[in-house]
Subunit: 185 residues, 2 copies
Amino acid sequence: MSYQAVPLNKAYLLLNHGPTVMISSAFGDKRNIMSAAWSTPLDFDPARVVVIIDKQTYSKELIEASGEFTVLIPSKKIAKQVLQVGTTSGRDIDKFTEFNLTTVAAKTIQAPLITDCLACLECKLIPEPHNQNTYDLYIGEVTAAWADPEVFSEGRWHIKSDQKRSIHYQAGGEFFAIGDSFHID
Amino acid sequence: MSYQAVPLNKAYLLLNHGPTVMISSAFGDKRNIMSAAWSTPLDFDPARVVVIIDKQTYSKELIEASGEFTVLIPSKKIAKQVLQVGTTSGRDIDKFTEFNLTTVAAKTIQAPLITDCLACLECKLIPEPHNQNTYDLYIGEVTAAWADPEVFSEGRWHIKSDQKRSIHYQAGGEFFAIGDSFHID
């Protein structure tokens, strides 16, 4: 599987249904990845996203130092790793190595993508110190977007296998998998 | 069915899995309701949420005038109304009447709740003019939270019927219903 480019003005569709995401970051020779249940699209064109990143995290340091981050939409196949990277700190370990995450180079930023995602967004931070300091709220402009063409192409989701469902975190290790699509006329 | 109170520090759990929401508002004798795919929890305690509300909307006017709004988590049963209130303007019609939405009085704000939701949050706007004007981004502090005890109680989701699934908007009238829960140790 390799990722296929998604037009930037369609990038919001990758997050529109509210999946739990992972966020990777890198600065110099440091890198990290965390999980985040709290994110939302913010605008279509320019494509922008909001992510909430706790002030205690190592990711916050790397994102503020580099001005970049990814938003990765993991498949159910790597739900265990989503929980693992969400409950450990990158100050103590290299989570990519520790949890067997295979990286893929991003195109527009230094932070790595990983395999087994449904989609990946590369983002440049739009600095907003008040939001970052007061609310842990980070705004990014999407500079590249990618999707697994088996589940998303031509601006539409078409998820057909259980292991390629998006996952939606509840609490305490409990997730929802996304269910079936339905249409309203 | 009647709603049961949810402790405020558990309110984030109602939004954590990324459902599409409706947002109601009221000011004086005016009221409105819209749909929003773009929202996220922002903090646990005090419980805060972010919603993105386009600057052209009637809802924006009522929310800025009243300093209040709701975040309603509709069940699949009312998916058609979610689409309807998302594609019409409250400047032209009273959407509650037009689309047969039954209101329920909120406890801490004037904006009404509606029936057939999985959960409802009452919010007071935390004014942030820069975010509102630049990004259409609104921050609310949750002042009351409610859930249908058939699907959420004791801090946990337990959705058992198809019509009481949360819905997750894609585009063009296409939704995902939330799927099954799974646990990772």
